[in-house]
């Protein structure tokens, strides 16, 4: 490279390091820019050819690396032209055009959206494309006679992004409809409510008779007209909720709300018609608006977890390459939808592809990354006859697999189902507020009925305003807001600390946790290998040996190669004739000398000399994947010890939890030695190795029976049922999608110490919720007798209720500040 560039040369398109050797260049903006691979080169050439090279000036952040040159993509997407498969996500329009939604992967900035929109809009037969940056989806409409669906997907893939048809389920569509409806209800309540407030202000200011009676009537009638849309549209959920509650004969928060609205409205209309008494349209508008806002916050949290599920479904590819034997032993490949695969079908899986279904390898040997399914972070080697699981990734070489289970019955599907089962059987954790509130509602209604009856006999003209006063002043607003307001503020605070709360109960439960249970790999440890030390044989320089090893692994995607390359310093020698022995090691020549790098057994077999570098004898109990030997014809040169490293903040977190007197335990699926080492390093007394997910669930249930409140911290799909079995679960943000979807709390930065701050915030939240509930109840204890005695006019009642709610919200807002 040129002298003025001190940094390593990187690919202009994807920003990754350029491989040594063959250079690829593309001319962009009149200058030749280096490309790391044919995929990037093709993507860059497409962008330039379409006149979209401004993208490189506008983009922010790295561009994804296309996995393959474009030729292959077209074939990969052909299956999406299948009309039966298309029925799931393509909808026809009356004008003969068709429409589909796409989920986009790799979009990192607005320029990416711009690039996709302009490239796709340029395809012949394309009507419109609108990329939504907020949801990372695209809506496309095209003429099926002139353009194939596969061509659209291939064109996006050519740019280096990945597009999958968005197969929206009925539930998804309902969710989106529901969200829009809620927003409209809030907007309507706010809009009309503001007008009513304005008119009410006039009435309140002129309450002493300073207003012309005709004008006051006009104000009241206008307010009545304005409150009608609120009642008939915005307040609908409360009335429907009440009907639902009454049908199953129980009392929810909706009942007093609906009753209060109904009586206030009926009373106001009566007052308006008879010309006696006050109108309370402003009160109705206000608590409908406030309560709807609270509901929307809750709904948004629910929707987020649903969106996560949706993205998870994409672990499984939609298509697979099926191979068939023709007459004359020729192999015939066709791309088919995964759902069309039958047991016994032969499927070809290329390196880098996701295994579509569970099956058995018929030909080929490769390493397979099953991290998503088993939590095992290292790829495992699988040869003919071995089973592979749907959802795992083929790392090295092509495989032929015979399908043994169709996709609905795959292990991935089973794990998902197990997680959902545990989820549904999870005991309902009544929050403090709702327990108190439901008891409160019964009493409130009884008091209101008693007050109404009393005044009916005592002074029939006053029973409506007084009953409404009681219902308005005791409006469960403050009580209803007590918990959600505190939780919303706490959720915002936690988000800033790097904790994303997915379920409302999580904060409250986290504050009461007595026992923390951790998973090991990927949770307490980083789940990636690092070189811990080198044992060099006598007369060998450790650093030189490391450089040799890194050179041999220069082209490897295996974690071992990655760890060695990262540890190596200085210029690497150049290795030639590198041969891969899957699952064993590599061999290659450096400076004319032959070297072998791999497991002890592999090096021994290749060199014929037993490895005993630096006096280290193979004691047999270390994991062979983490002990790598470098040998040559002269014998063993060095042994590299690789280990998984503790995650940042793990030590501080565990020590802090222990100091607070909380239980800390470790449950792992890994071997005894590895678990014991981590437990010792973190001073965890109770650690259990070699556990299956089912056994972990059993442990948790056993501890639950001992009335411990359990927080499970984990990572990986195999943890999902375990996470769901705990009272509250925490997952690493960098972990697998499924674990994410099932955890109550997600650590966004994978920084364990954030959990410590999270526990502190959670405890404060619980305190503030208790204060809020206490206040709401104390307020009612004072206000109800006053209202029942007829000492409170409705405007005082409305003011009291508002101030009470305001106090609760302000108290909760203290949580958001720190």
């Amino acid at each position: 490279m040129q002298g003025n560039e001190n940094q390593d040369p990187v690919c202009f398109h994807c920003g990754q390091l350029l491989p040594a050797g063959n250079r690829l260049d593309v001319e962009i903006d009149g200058a030749s820019k280096p490309m790391c691979c044919h995929g990037c080169k093709a993507a860059a050439e497409t962008i330039v050819a379409c006149g979209l090279d401004r993208f490189y000036r506008m983009r922010a952040g790295g561009t994804p690396r296309p996995d393959a040159p474009p030729g292959r993509d077209a074939a990969r997407y052909v299956a999406f032209d299948d009309p039966i498969l298309q029925r799931r996500f393509v909808s026809a329009r009356p004008d003969g055009r068709v429409e589909a939604a796409l989920l986009l992967d790799g979009v990192v900035c607005a320029a990416c959206c711009w690039l996709i929109e302009h490239r796709i809009a340029g395809l012949a037969g394309m009507d419109t494309i609108a990329v939504n940056y907020a949801t990372l989806t695209a809506r496309v409409r095209w003429d099926p006679a002139r353009l194939k669906f596969s061509a659209i997907l291939a064109a996006i893939a050519q740019l280096g992004y990945h597009a999958a048809p968005y197969d929206a389920t009925v539930a998804d569509r309902q969710l989106i409809r529901e969200r829009t409806a809620q927003l409209r209800r809030i907007a309507m309540a706010g809009l009309f409510g503001m007008q009513i407030m304005m008119l009410s202000l006039g009435l309140y200011l002129g309450a002493d008779g300073g207003v012309d009676p005709g004008l006051a009537d006009l104000f009241r009638w206008a307010a009545l007209l304005l409150v009608l849309p609120i009642l008939s549209y915005s307040a609908q959920p409360f009335f429907r909720g009440t009907l639902r509650d009454l049908r199953v004969q129980r009392l929810g928060m909706d009942v007093p709300v609906a009753l209060g609205i109904a009586i206030a409205f009926a009373g106001s209309v009566h007052a308006l018609l008879t010309g006696r008494g006050d109108v309370y349209f402003d009160s109705i508008a206000m608590f409908v608006f406030i309560l709807l806002c609270g509901r929307y916050v809750e709904f948004t949290v629910r929707r987020q977890s649903a969106a996560q599920w949706d993205r998870l479904q994409r672990i499984q590819p939609a298509t697979a390459t099926r191979i068939r034997m023709n007459a004359g032993d020729a192999m015939d490949e066709e791309v088919v939808p995964v759902s069309a695969l039958q047991v016994g079908d032969q499927v070809r899986i290329r390196p880098g592809e996701v295994v579509p279904v569970d099956g058995e390898i018929t030909t080929g040997t490769s390493s397979v990354n099953e991290a998503l399914l088993t939590g095992e972070s290292l790829p495992v080697t699988r040869g003919p006859g071995a089973a592979v699981l749907g959802g795992s990734i083929n790392v090295e070489s092509p495989l032929c697999v015979q399908v043994s289970r169709i996709s609905d019955q795959s292990r991935l599907a089973q794990i998902s189902r197990l997680a959902r089962d545990v989820e549904t059987t999870k005991p309902a954790l009544d929050t403090l507020a709702s327990r108190v509130a439901s008891r409160f509602i019964v009493r409130l209604l009884m008091i209101a009925a008693g007050v109404a009856l009393f005044w009916w006999f005592r002074d029939p003209a006053r029973w409506v305003p007084i009953t409404v006063s009681v219902l308005v002043i005791t409006c469960p607003c403050a009580l209803a807001l007590a918990a959600p307001a505190a939780l919303t503020a706490a959720t915002g605070n936690l988000l800033r600390q790097g904790l994303l709360v997915r379920r409302a109960h999580a904060v409250e439960t986290l504050a009461r946790v007595t026992l923390f249970v951790f998973d090991k790999t990927g949770t307490l440890t980083n789940g990636e290998l690092r070189l811990s030390h080198v044992d060099a044989a006598a007369g060998t320089d450790g650093d030189a040996a490391l450089n040799l090893a890194a050179a041999l692994e220069a082209g490897s995607a295996h974690p071992v190669g990655h760890a060695l390359r990262k540890a190596a310093r200085g210029p690497l020698p150049h290795a030639v004739q590198v041969r891969n022995f899957t699952g064993a090691g590599v061999a290659g020549s450096v400076a004319g000398r032959e070297y072998f790098l791999g497991t002890a057994a592999f090096v021994q077999r290749m060199t014929g000399v037993a490895p005993s570098a630096g006096g280290v004898v193979d004691n047999g109990n270390a994991d062979p994947a983490t002990r790598i030997v470098l040998g040559s014809g002269a014998g063993t040169l060095a042994t590299f010890h690789l280990c998984d490293t503790l995650r940042n903040g793990a030590v501080e977190l565990i020590r802090n939890l222990a100091r607070q007197g909380l239980g800390v335990r470790l449950l792992s699926g890994d071997g005894h030695a590895a678990v014991a080492a981590v437990a010792a390093g973190l001073e965890i007394g109770h650690a259990e190795p070699d556990l299956l997910p089912e056994q972990k669930v059993a442990r948790l249930q056993q501890w639950r029976a001992d009335s411990e409140v359990i927080c499970m911290v984990g990572d990986g799909v195999n943890d999902a049922p375990v996470l769901a079995a705990a009272h509250v679960s925490v997952a690493m943000g960098g972990g697998a999608d499924l674990a994410r979807a099932n955890a109550d709390i997600i650590l966004l930065e994978n920084w364990l110490d954030a959990l410590r701050a999270g526990i502190h915030v959670a405890r404060r939240t619980l305190d503030i919720m208790r204060q809020n509930v206490t206040w709401a109840i104390a307020y009612n204890i004072i206000a109800v007798p006053l209202a029942a005695a007829g000492q409170v006019t409705p405007w005082m009642a409305a003011l009291g209720m508002s101030l009470s709610s305001l106090l609760v919200v302000l108290n909760a807002a203290r949580l958001a500040r720190t």
Binding site: R54, A111, G122, T128, T135, R184, Q195, L215, L218, L226
Partner: protein, 56 residues
């Protein structure tokens, strides 16, 4: 003050109009993506016409 007898009905009509417009805006997806449109104005160059006009 008599003017209020005219102005308040007019304001009611305006509120209904606003409600209708807001309803249309939510229904037609104007609030779906709050992020990208503000970048679009910077990304689209004026010297080259956009590839194709939108329907609306």
């Amino acid at each position: 003050m008599d003017i209020l007898f005219l102005l308040i009905p007019i304001s009611l009509a305006f509120v209904v109009l606003i409600a209708v417009i807001l309803n249309w805006a939510v229904r037609s997806g104007q609030y779906d993506d709050m992020e990208k449109p503000r970048h679009d104005i910077l990304l689209d160059e004026d010297d080259r016409p956009p590839p194709r006009d939108r329907d609306q």
